[in-house]
């Protein structure tokens, strides 16, 4: 069966520090991968999506970046965190051609102080 993992589950970082969040998918190959952010009390904002290794599309300008070094690994990074980067980060995947259903990871709660 397919599973999606995210780590860490929670993270508290000072302003200006770097960030690396990781997402991995098991049980499938060639997934589409997505990063979303939820600010407190708000809906989902799509940050990045990827249709293959090294292929990243950015939906909003920001100080975050994403990379896909392996087929089932998706990384969200920042060189210098801002207070406004605080939020709940969700990774998701779907399987092109097979299904249009997205499946979500458990999320990472990021607090920037």
């Amino acid at each position: 069966s397919q599973t999606i993992h995210q780590w860490p589950a929670t993270l508290v970082q000072p302003v200006g520090s770097p960030l690396s969040l990781e997402c991995t998918v098991e049980g499938t190959s060639n997934p589409n991968l997505y990063w979303y952010r939820q600010a407190a009390g708000r809906g989902l904002q799509l940050l990045f999506y990827s249709v293959g290794i090294g292929q990243i599309s950015s939906e909003v300008p920001q100080n975050l970046s994403a990379s896909r070094p392996q087929d089932r690994q998706f990384i969200l990074s920042s060189k210098k965190l801002l207070l406004s980067d605080s939020g709940f980060y969700l990774c998701a995947f779907d399987r092109p051609v097979i299904t249009d259903t997205q499946y979500f990871g458990p999320g990472t709660r990021l607090t920037v102080l």
Binding site: Y49, L90, T101, G107
Partner: protein
């Protein structure tokens, strides 16, 4: 183009009473429609999905949704609310666009 509107940001019900969460959509294609549930500090869990096989879709935990093309609606219902249903619910449309579009969410509050 596609869009989705969740008509209520908050819905409050008493335990044991019916639940209705409203969703309207627009799409240039014949879309797939989804409802997801999110409990606090958790990921989104798929409740149900419509893909044109049947207009009444049954999901997990006793939820169901009815696709009404003439009204461009996909409302989520449950006959009897349980305390554990308290959560955020998201309606999602995915048509010709590669990327799904999420509603802003409806917070379901269940009173004992």
């Amino acid at each position: 183009a596609q869009s989705v509107t969740q008509l209520d940001s908050h819905v409050s019900v008493s335990e044991g009473t019916p639940v209705l969460l409203r969703c309207n959509y627009s799409s240039s294609y014949s879309p797939s429609l989804f409802w997801y549930v999110q409990h606090p500090n958790k990921g989104l869990q798929l409740l149900l999905k419509y893909t044109s096989a049947a207009t009444l879709v049954k999901g997990i935990n006793g939820f169901e949704a009815e696709f009404k093309k003439s009204e461009t609606s996909f409302h989520l219902t449950k006959p009897s609310a349980h305390m554990s249903d308290a959560a955020e619910y998201f309606c999602v449309v995915r048509g010709g666009s590669y990327i799904p579009t999420f509603g802003r969410g409806t917070s379901l509050i269940v009173h004992p």
